[in-house]
């Protein structure tokens, strides 16, 4: 399941809901992304996430299906927020459930690496020097590319 929303989410409730009633699950891996107060040496007071409504949902659904094709998952969830967020706020949640831990870890890392470079979101960062658009990081491209080579 995927959700693109302005409002916050409840990590524990999402994990517990995925586990509930499915005793084939051996493990649930998850990742929560937060707004940091420091990025590339700048003190960040807020970020504003812009996205491309329609394309975002379409692409997130595609990548969730791709994760389910690559690994034997019992379930997968992606929640990504947009709008104005402050340091400490949750940005993104990925949760995957599988009979075996390695499938869940791999699927969660794959989805996060993909979201960093392939989901139509852009971050406007507010710092002491004013506002600027966050540039794509080469390290994120490299992380995303490794999934292309391996599969």
């Amino acid at each position: 399941m995927i959700r693109v929303q302005a409002q916050d989410f409840d990590v524990g409730a999402e994990i517990d809901a995925m586990a509930a009633g499915n005793t084939h699950i051996g493990g649930i891996a998850s990742f929560v992304g937060y707004v940091r107060d420091l990025n590339d040496g700048n003190t960040v007071s807020a970020i504003t996430l812009e996205h491309y409504p329609g394309m975002t949902e379409r692409r997130l659904n595609e990548i969730e299906q791709e994760a389910q094709r690559r690994w034997l998952l019992e379930d997968a969830l992606i929640i990504h927020r947009y709008g104005r967020l402050e340091p400490g706020d949750r940005i993104v949640l990925v949760v995957t459930a599988s009979a075996h831990r390695q499938a869940a870890f791999n699927a969660t890392m794959f989805l996060m690496d993909w979201l960093k470079t392939e989901a139509p979101f852009w971050k406007l960062e507010a710092t002491g020097d004013g506002e600027h658009w966050v540039e794509a990081r080469e390290a994120d491209d490299i992380a995303a590319d490794k999934w292309k080579q391996k599969n």
Binding site: H51, Y52, R58, K116, E118, A119, P120, F121, W133, R137
Partner: protein, 83 residues
């Protein structure tokens, strides 16, 4: 054709979206970008460095030689920074 602009591309061209009718000679993304660059300095600036621009045709990432028609939704934006 529906055109959408995001992030600093939107800031530079000054609008978030517009509906246009394509001139006859514009048949692919590359030609569309050339035509847009001629409109004003904002577009010329926004679209000056092709390595910094990504484009989607009907919500799918596309290449410069992808054909486009008046029925398409085209989006121009910087590299994505989600997650």
């Amino acid at each position: 054709m529906k055109l959408l602009y995001f992030a600093w591309v939107r800031n530079k061209v000054g609008i978030a979206e517009e509906n246009i009718t394509l001139p006859d000679h514009v048949g692919d993304i590359a030609a569309l970008l050339s035509w847009l660059r001629e409109r004003n300095d904002g577009f010329a600036d926004a679209l000056s460095d092709m390595t910094a621009i990504r484009f989607a045709v009907n919500q799918e990432i596309a290449a410069l030689d992808q054909p486009v028609t008046d029925d398409d939704e085209i989006a121009l934006f910087p590299p994505m920074t989600g997650g």
